[in-house]
Chain length 356, copies 2
């Protein structure tokens, strides 16, 4: 008898499981073998019903229904590890992200997850605390999970990660900070910064009749984004023939406290300030609070990156909001296209003006 032979074979294959099939207290989750035994069919049939290939494999509707019902009743979930091991693709997309502590990275994380899910992929984000060693370790870890694709966001050393991915034959892409060994998708920091600078210059001229160089504060000179923003900042001054003294560019890190101290130490307080990040803006606000109200009201500032509280500051004349949706739309397009030339692509920013 073929049927009993099959059953015997199943039983031999997995004694413990078989005896647990009808045991609701069993903590082991059911497998396709368990369902096959319950329904009285083969594991292959069960698998193909559950993964959708059953039509192609000419399984009858009747059997499919029985299998689906059994799966439902027994709370079956596929074992992805086994599935991925067997298939060529994992459908997992990994992302390395420096921090979750600001709106920009938070929005990137959410948008990435949403788009990945919409594309039928499983997103895994891992946060690397701006630590190069952790970035590398995390990349390696994601690779060992067989990600199909790895996105390095704001990575300290994206090229090293690209190398790892290349060795593993995994697609990769740099977001927010460029690398030379994979496609890079960035905000147009130059244009955003230039437009913001113009707005601040306009406000100073309009409100105070002053045409002075602005103060640039925050960021690091060795940081690509700071360099580009500085370039935009200087371009806006050059086009108005305002010369820029070196002392007006303070780029000694993003930390709020550092910015506050630098501002406190200045002999001549500028009317217009270009703030290079929302985190630096915290320090600027702290400093503003220490000024007499009348003096504080005679300052205008604009910030690169958006924060809803920052936008409500009376001194605020504009914030550059990066187009997170646009950045990730392009990211997924590039992934899909399979392109892997190390070209850099810019996505325009949006200038958010105060609405009050």
């Amino acid at each position: 008898m073929i049927a009993s032979e099959f059953e015997a074979c199943q039983y031999a294959r997995n004694q413990r499981k078989s005896s647990d099939v009808n045991d609701k207290n069993s903590s082991k989750r059911p497998t396709i073998y368990d369902l096959a035994e319950l329904v009285g069919t083969s594991p292959t049939a069960v698998s193909s019903v559950l993964n959708g290939s059953w039509k192609k494999r000419r399984i009858s509707q009747k059997l499919a229904d029985k299998v689906l019902k059994a799966a439902q009743e027994n709370g079956y979930t596929v074992n992805i590890q086994a599935s991925v091991l067997r298939r060529e693709r994992s459908n997992i997309v990994g992302m390395i992200l420096p921090k979750y502590d600001n709106r920009f990275f938070g929005a990137i994380a959410e948008e990435f997850e949403t788009r990945a899910r919409a594309a039928g992929l499983f997103p895994v984000i891992t946060c690397t605390q701006r630590d190069p060693a952790l970035e590398l370790a995390a990349a390696r870890e994601l690779l060992s999970y067989q990600v199909d694709c790895l996105i390095s966001t704001g990575a300290t050393d994206p090229d090293q990660i690209s190398d790892l991915c290349r060795a593993a034959g995994v697609k990769t892409l740099n977001l927010d900070l460029p690398g030379t060994k994979a496609p890079s998708i960035l905000s147009d920091n130059f244009t955003g910064a230039r437009d913001l600078t113009r707005i601040i210059l306009d406000a100073c001229e309009r409100d105070f009749g002053v045409v002075d160089p602005l103060l640039f504060i925050g960021g690091r000179k060795d940081d690509h984004n700071t360099q580009e923003r500085l370039r935009g900042f200087l371009a806006a001054h050059t086009e108005r023939e305002i010369s820029m003294p070196q002392s007006q560019i303070i780029s000694e890190g993003y930390a709020p406290e550092k910015a506050r101290q630098s501002l406190m130490a200045m002999r001549r307080i500028p009317h217009g300030i270009f703030v290079n990040s929302t985190i630096t803006l915290e320090g600027v606000v702290y400093w503003l609070q220490s000024l007499p109200a009348e003096r504080a009201s005679r300052i205008r500032c604009g910030t690169f990156d958006f924060d809803p509280f920052g936008a409500l500051l009376p001194q605020n004349v504009g914030m550059v909001r990066q187009d997170v949706q646009g950045l990730l739309a392009r990211t997924f397009e590039v992934i899909k296209s399979g392109k892997d030339s190390a070209e850099t692509e810019l996505v325009a920013c949006h200038l958010e003006m105060p609405s009050f």
Copy 2:
């Protein structure tokens, strides 16, 4: 000859791989079988060297060194899918998180990842946009990745997720919002809110000589955390024998715009305001901007949850900062203890006073 038999067997096992071993252009990553062939040993030996069990398995230092060198040179990374499939534990811990758009959840995500890594576990966070259906789908997905443990943070319906986990025999735990079917770890919303209310009442009395009921704004009445905070808010009034009119409690959601409109519509503007979230605080600040400066200066407010910009508002007298480190410390302790009784545990908040 045993050696040649072994090699022949290996070759038969995997023709394509074997011929690729020395091919640097091959995009396939090396496996333990490849390394075994390179070094001239068995896959078992390679595996045990690479996963650290070689001492126990009495592999010689010499062979271990050779294997490690080969692994290094060929950029070997373990295939976790295969490894997890065979082992009983995955060492993956999953977390469901509503949003990444505020400091609280951002900090939870970072702290969770840090602690998981420190415990030798692999953290996977997935963001569910406060969507109950997505929460459930995400939980199912994480289970199919064989997570050892699943943490529901701020989940709409944590009990449903607990049920899923129970069926799969997976440990689970609720964070930030309580459930009835798994251990819950929450901030002590009651005490935090009561203490904050006291501070605001103190400030109104000290600065304006007024002993009036405060305004409570933000949140939802059916939300556990709002209920607890409201209880603390009322307790602080009761202990001072201040009676609370219903009209002073506005709990129609967290949205900033909603809060602003409610405030605009009030006939009598209160001196003291209890703001139930930083997101609601945005609306309050928006409204403050619309007031004459002199009037705005005669308001004191405190907020549940912390935001660095919010802390810098001149009207701010305190922010309740939830103890994210404490919450996650307890979370990991409970996980480790294996406890699964549905008890709720409270973690104290910290009252952050303005420092200027």
